[in-house]
């Protein structure tokens, strides 16, 4: 189902997962090629975040397979992070008592050298200059938009090949959402592989190469964003119009 002819960097095959006594994902399959921008949309509580958590290892796989660069994904989140999967979770999940800089440095926890950390830090400050101004501020004192920026910056500091972004616009003002999506657009243009979860397909219409509609733990529709936006009956049934 990849939008590209490149071999997949991330491949999901009949993925089933969930929480104690609750099956959330009920057989998800798709591939993502290097440089693709893929979005998963769907109503709240139907498994979008669980999908990203399953890929990054926070939610264990019940059955099925996840492959990263053709190799089976190891089960633990820290080893999956080591394979270049950077997860920017919903609600930021920052380290609240650390400064912005310390949060960013935690993103580069597995970086091979000081020079590489400095290079990534320069890159993040260029893309998100506000973080440079706020570098010594404690994360818990930041605004919602700034926290989201730190979350994205921390994900970039991981230097990952695959970026998983969970609902970056959730709970933010329209102006901030615009800024956040401006950054995501830059990331996409730089050739990064992005899997983004979003509730509103219109936000990714010009960005995503491919879109999956997730409902009750299964993918009910896949295709280009423009095609979904033209299908009023799908929008009405799954996304409330």
């Amino acid at each position: 189902m990849s939008a590209s002819t490149q071999p997949p960097v991330l491949s999901l095959s009949n993925v089933v997962s969930g929480y104690k006594g609750l099956q959330v994902l009920k057989g998800i399959s798709f591939d993502i090629a290097a440089g693709d921008f893929v979005t998963v949309v769907g109503p709240n509580g139907h498994g979008k975040s669980t999908l990203l958590k399953t890929i990054s290892g926070l939610v264990p796989l019940t059955s099925g397979a996840i492959r990263i660069n053709g190799e089976p994904a190891p089960g633990k989140p820290h080893t999956i992070a080591g394979l270049g999967v950077a997860h920017v979770p919903q609600g930021d999940m920052l380290f609240p008592e650390m400064s912005v800089l310390e949060n960013l440095l935690m993103g580069a926890y597995l970086a091979p050298s000081k020079a590489e950390i400095d290079r990534r830090l320069d890159e993040v400050y260029t893309l998100l200059p506000k973080l440079s101004d706020r570098r010594d501020q404690v994360a818990s004192s930041l605004s919602g938009g700034e926290r989201r920026m730190v979350g994205i910056g921390r994900g970039l500091m991981m230097g990952g090949q695959i970026l998983l972004i969970d609902e970056p616009s959730l709970g933010l003002a329209p102006l901030i959402i615009e800024q956040i999506y401006g950054v995501i657009t830059e990331l996409s243009r730089s050739g990064r592989t992005i899997l983004l979860v979003e509730e509103n397909p219109a936000r990714v219409a010009d960005l995503a190469d491919h879109l999956h509609l997730l409902d009750d733990g299964i993918i009910v529709w896949s295709g280009p964003p423009a095609e979904l936006l033209a299908r009023d009956e799908l929008l009405a049934t799954y996304l409330g119009g």
Partner: protein, 295 residues
Amino acid sequence: MLDILTAILIAGLTTGALYALATVGLSLVWGSMGMLNMAHAAMLTLGGYSAFTLCTVLGLPVIAGFAGAILVGAVAGGLLYVLIVRNLLKTDKATFESNVMIATVGIGIALENAILLTYGGQPLKQPISATGSFILGPVSLPYQNMLIVLVVIALMAVIALLLGRTRMGRAIRATAQNREAAQLMGVAVNSVYFQVLVLSGAIAGICGVMVSSMTQLSPPLGNDPMLKAFIMCVVAGLGNLPGAVAAAFGLALLEAFVQYVAGARWGFPTLLFVVIAVLIWRPAGLFGRVQIRRM
């Protein structure tokens, strides 16, 4: 008047330093793992007896006794993780806090009894101690008290640097603040837990040497500092490291003052009264978060 105030200050600072050392080990483990290590007292005692064995029994120099106490404490902390904590974490995480508390109570009792069987119940003299005083006009500063305060200050600086400036320290703090996010950054949290218990054990070892140098070695040596350290932790807010150190010095000075004014028997009841008052006023402690994140 000056000599009385100095005596209270010296007693308060020395006791505060010892309390702070005991409290840091306990608070570090609670803050990063959500684990109340009830065997901390026995690990402290083990450190004191290790130094005694190396210096008095084997005749090694003082520095070897000190290093040995640190090493034995660290090994005890590591073994506690490998043999007990790691396995409890594999089971139901919801009951980890209570299970690990009960398990470490058992380990503490077993260790204390093992020490009793090995060394007997009679008090022994800790060979690592300094005699004499530094006289400054009307004020006399015992070298032993100065040694304790200086060692504790140096140790606090090392711990602060370790937690604040190193990759390992950042991983420990990150795990304490948000375990899942730390994992996503590539932190192996089980390895962090191991490091925390090793570090805490090493601190307990040093603390055991320091406490026994002021009193004497006996199998229940660690129980009183552990009880006081727990009070300091609760007053500060469980898991808050700088707060615990501040509470340790503050309460120790208060205890020394009350003991001088009202008599030695009123020191401990006063501490308990302060704990009750603080918990009524601020249930999460003076510097504590309302909810402590558990691993």
